[in-house]
Structure formats: structure tokens, C-alpha cells
Symmetry: C2
Subunit: 282 residues, 2 copies
């Protein structure tokens, strides 16, 4: 497995790979890998000749009061895990390498960023679009892989690719969970042991909410109540929207999504489902 | 020469060309071709295996009171000229083909769009960025060609490519002029015969302005005076800026640029030069 730290090294490798006729799957990450990331590598491995994983904690997607500085990092461990999953190239640039000068041009998310995390983290998805556009171009990826745990990010990146005809496609990876239901996340490491015990209630709240939606009831109040009773965290949002448009009127799938702020970690989770139940579509 | 009208046809052709190991030069145009466009095709022909010319009058870059509807179009004549210059593929999509749905994501020009035409045509360069991003992706161009007559557009597109690491480079084509100095433009056809006789004074005003700059004098007032005496047009702007940053403090090249509104045609022109004279740099 190669570890590349500069744009020029990556471009050189990509040109070689393209000349050899290889397809390239890209798995963009911020490192501190967990099984969610590794499941994306496995998908990429199955669908492409070569797999590039980027590891870059992207300052552009963190707000001034967010956890950029203390976002967990462990490149050595990440290398072992990425290699074990079959990654061919890790691209792990420094901030100066990715952003050598202030950008003149800006890419902005639209209405899809005005709900859920986007409403709480102004500019976050613009920062995501900035870095993924650069990575898609640098890796000349045929396919890029994103987990459904960050469902809003996934939807917005799908819009980017469709709106601007990127010569590539996005692949969705299902959320990977701990045995007790907690969605895998790099930020789980910041949960206290008491919080860690409460955290599976996020998924339970989502399941309860889905059941209510399927019965035609509003899930928001009961879920808020449930989470306040079963966790010490503060509910940041609970929303029921169309997926992937993220509009209020559900015409495709439904997404039920939440964010809960614990003392040192803000966790997000969601489930995507047919709002009228599976039977209606059978 | 192939004439393709759909995104899928173009993508199919591009995949074939890439598989065959061909490099692709892209010449984006709005049609109604003149020798300026054809000189770009010749440059592209010399530097790439295949040359794609897009012909698309892009509604996204016209303001509500601008000349989108009456922008000159003549696809049959364009085809003859493009073929004669060695174009391999014309991509001439309809508006629905390029913009099948409203975009979620927006690309915006920055400070470079706050001067010159950008100050007079709000949103114009955002519309340019939208269409060129799509075209760059669709054609998977190795090189794309733009004329220096639209110097602000060229500078902003160079920023786009650099800021987002597009896997391609921009090539600049010099402004092609009539024998009397008038810059070739699709819009020249809308000049009355009296205006056509006055129009070479735009270039003369620029030359006078350059001479003043090289003498350390401010060129704006004398140029404004000159144009009001020698043409019936209304000066929209005359500006002296750094190129390509388009900032007020000249640290690279200088651009002296103007726009003059005639009855039915708004003409632009510019010259780019070393602000301290050629000798200082010898």
C-alpha cells in the first residue's frame, strides 16, 4: 500500500493507473477509521481495480467553535486498518497541500443544507463540497463511496455530481453499527462510559419513531421525550424529511434523523425507510 | 466531423476516445463563430489528439434584461467553419439537455467578479462557471481553450481550475482582430454601419491608455474623453487592474479593459501588458 502526501504524487499515481486502464474507487475519510469506513473500502475493492482512501481532517467543514483541533487522529493505526481492508493508496495531505491559497471560487450547497446538521452547522456542507470536489478531481475517481450515516452529506454530494456532470458516480454504504445498535463513528471515542451506555437509545428512538410514522403519527415529540428520559445528552434536532431531496413533503423515501449533543461528542444517526411501510410497495 | 446533441452521446464518444488513449482539447463557444474561435480550434488541434467544440448559448450567463433571445445563432454556418478548422466533434445541446433540473449546488465567482463586466452583469460569471464546469466534466478535457478578449472570464476560469484541482489545464488564445483593430466578436454583427466605423477607436483608446500608463499617468479620464469624442457609444467602464488577480494593486501584468454600449451591441476589449514597460523586464 502506498502512502502519498502531496497532490503531485497522487496525480502521478493516478496518471499511471489511468494509462494502465485501471478504474479507481475513492473512499474519502477524515481518518480514525472504524468498520463503517472499512466496509466502504470493501465495496470499492469489489467494484474497482484500485482503491484510493483519502485521510484528511478538513478544516473547511468545521465551524469556529467545533472540534477541528481535537478531532481524533491516528494515522499509524489508520494505515494498518486501511491496508488490511485492501486499500491500494492512502492520500494523506497536510492542510497547506490541500489549500495552498485562499480560494477565489466558492461551491455552495442549496436548500438541502438548510435542514438537519446544515441548519446547525452553517458552512459545514460548503466545506464538504470544497474538499470532495478537489478529491474527486485529484483521484479522477470512477466511483466514490460515502456512508449513509452522514445521509445529508451523501444527498448533497449526489446533487453535486448530478448538477455538474462529474464523470463518476456515488455509491452509498449502509450504516455500520455496534452490536447494541450504536452507529460507528470516529467521535464515539469521546463518549464517557455512562454516555456510551446511553448511546444505543439513539437507534432505539429512531426505531420507535419509524413505527409511529408507519402508524401515521408524528414521531418528533415522543422521540424527544424518549431521548430525554434515556440519555443525558441534549437533543440538537429530530427531523422527518423526504430522502434524498430533504424537503418536508415526503414523495420518495423518508429519512428520520437526529443529533444529540453529549458532553464532548455530538452524535448523529438516521434511518431511511418507505414512509408507508414495505407492504405498500410489495 | 460528428455533431452530438445529447449528454449521453458525448459521454459515449468521450469514453471511446479515452479508451483509445486520445487526449481531448475543448473549445467552449456560444456559436456564431469568428476567427477568434477558429484560432482556438487550431491551437487545440496542435496540442490534442481530438478537438471538441461546444456550441451552447448559455442562458445561465445572461441577465434578465440581456440579449439571450437575440444572441446571434447560425448552427449550419458554424458547422462549416468548425469542420474547416479541424474540429472532430461539435457538442450542441439544447437548454433542457444541459439543465434538465434546477441545480441544488451553486458555484460562485469571488472578488474577481466584482470588477469590469462582473460589476455590470450580476451573476454572469456564476453562469459561466456553471456551464464550463459541466462542459469540462462532460468532455473530460485535458486542455480547454478560451480567448483573451474575455479576459475576466479567462481569469475566473483559471481560478476555478486551480481552486478545485480540475485534472486539466486552461490555454489562453490571443484576441483576434479585424484589420482595423476591432476585436472579433459575435456581437459585432449588431453594429450599425456608422457604429462599425467608430468601433476601431476602442482599440485605439486602449493603446492610448497603455502609453499613458507607461508614462505613469492615469489613463481613465483621457480614454473616456477620447471615446466620447470618437464614438456614439456610451462608456460602460474603463478599468486598469492587475492581471489575472483583477485587484487594484498591479503586481503581475496590467489589464486595461473597457466596455462600450452601442445601440444594439455592447462591445468589450482589453489589452494586457507589463505596466512598467517591456524594458524593465528585459
Amino acid at each position: 500500500m502506498l502512502i502519498l502526501q502531496t497532490v503531485d504524487e497522487l496525480k502521478g499515481w493516478v496518471q499511471e493507473a489511468k494509462r494502465a486502464g485501471h478504474t479507481i474507487g475513492l473512499v474519502p475519510t477524515m481518518g480514525f477509521l472504524h468498520e463503517g469506513h472499512l466496509s466502504l473500502v470493501e465495496k470499492a475493492k469489489a467494484e474497482n481495480d484500485k482503491v484510493v482512501m483519502s485521510i484528511f481532517v478538513n478544516p473547511a467543514q468545521f465551524g469556529p467553535n467545533e472540534d477541528f483541533d481535537r478531532y481524533p487522529r491516528n494515522l499509524e493505526r489508520d494505515q494498518q486498518l486501511a491496508k488490511g481492508a485492501g486499500t491500494d493508496v492512502i492520500f494523506a495531505p497536510g492542510v497547506e497541500e490541500m489549500y495552498p491559497r485562499e480560494s477565489q471560487i466558492k461551491i455552495s450547497a442549496g436548500a438541502q443544507a438548510e435542514v438537519l446538521c446544515g441548519a446547525k452547522r452553517p458552512g459545514h456542507f460548503d466545506g464538504v463540497l470544497k474538499v470532495v470536489t478537489k478529491l474527486f478531481h485529484l483521484a479522477e475517481a470512477d466511483l466514490a463511496y460515502f456512508g449513509q450515516k452522514d445521509a445529508q452529506q451523501l444527498a448533497i454530494i449526489e446533487s453535486l455530481v448530478a448538477d455538474f456532470n462529474f464523470p463518476m458516480a456515488i455509491r452509498r454504504g449502509e450504516t455500520v453499527r455496534e452490536e447494541d445498535g450504536l452507529a460507528k463513528s470516529s467521535r464515539n471515542v469521546y463518549l464517557s462510559s455512562a454516555e456510551r451506555n446511553e448511546a444505543p437509545h439513539l437507534k432505539k428512538a429512531l426505531e420507535m419513531g419509524r413505527a409511529l410514522v408507519l402508524q401515521g403519527q408524528d414521531p418528533i415529540e415522543p422521540m424527544t421525550q424518549y431521548l430525554s428520559e434515556h440519555t443525558s445528552g441534549k437533543v440538537d434536532y429530530i427531523e422527518l424529511l423526504d430522502y434524498p431531496t430533504l424537503t418536508a413533503v415526503i414523495q420518495n423515501d423518508a429519512i428520520l434523523a437526529l443529533a444529540v449533543q453529549f458532553e464532548k461528542a455530538r452524535l448523529i444517526d438516521n434511518i431511511i425507510f418507505q414512509p408507508k411501510g414495505e407492504l405498500d410497495h410489495a
